[in-house]
């Protein structure tokens, strides 16, 4: 794991914050539109995933991670994907 940068400015944090607020506003706006059940939840979760990726990469310094810590960070969303896919597969194939 590299030492986190101390000399970099706060600009990346401000830009990420602005992107997060914009994405949240977009999500709220799209919820007021009639996109249909499937498309609506797909858009909402797609935007949520983008926001979490920004938080993880910039705020949680994901890029700085090495070794076991990176493995744990990658394993976490894989747990989510595997469990949700298996659950939905079970429901759909009944």
């Amino acid at each position: 794991m590299k030492e986190p940068p101390t000399e970099r400015g706060a600009l990346p944090l401000w830009l990420t914050f602005a992107a997060l607020l914009s994405l949240a506003a977009l999500s709220g706006y799209l919820a007021t539109r009639s996109l249909g059940e499937g498309l609506g939840i797909a858009c909402s979760l797609g935007i949520a995933s983008t926001k979490v990726a920004l938080i993880a990469i910039v705020f949680m310094d994901l890029r700085e991670l090495r070794g076991g810590a990176r493995l744990a960070a990658i394993a976490a969303p894989m747990f989510v994907a595997i469990l949700i896919l298996l659950m939905l597969g079970d429901v759909r194939l009944r």
């Binding site: 030492e3 000399e7 909402s44 991670l65 810590a69 747990f79």
Partner: protein, 210 residues
Amino acid sequence: MTDLDAPRFESLARQRLAARLGTWTFLASEVLLFTGLFALYASGRAEHARAFDYGITHAMVVVGTVNTFVLLTSSFCLARACLALRGGSVRLAAILVGVTALLGVAFLALKGYEYHQHIAEGQVPGGRSAYFASHADLDGLPLYYTLYWVSTGAHAVHVTIGVVLLGVFAIAIARDRVPPARAYRLENAALYWHLVDAVWVFLWPLYYLR
């Protein structure tokens, strides 16, 4: 009596690495906890689409949306606080960590107001109230509200722990107990808070947005 600043590893960099690995492992286990709840939600929504749609339509969307912006702002403040502490701006770091904790309190206050309204309406976990009797045609509605309470309740417990943790850090930083060289301690607490924020980022569309 133990000295918290006593070296435990051959170098500070190695100690920081070990602390970061432990924190990420803990966060991965936390993700598993919430993943179980998200999986239950996916199953429930697939089986009771009409009831879940009804529940979401009657959610307090304004409160949920304000809380989303509150938590996103808190995450930014904490990330900025970590940067400030690493750069030696101890006073700014203490203030920003304190602001983050206060935003957490604001989140909990709004969530408490929301819970109060749900209880007044009879939208309680378990489905044993007049509200559910009057909505007997929506057989998945009790499941929706049980999942809502368990998921948001587990999240609120995590926010409460985070508020206490950050409150302690704000005081400790203000008293020069967390010097810039030990900024990794605040960074690990920040990782926990960002995870709490990330969980809400998913809870918001699932329980508030159509």
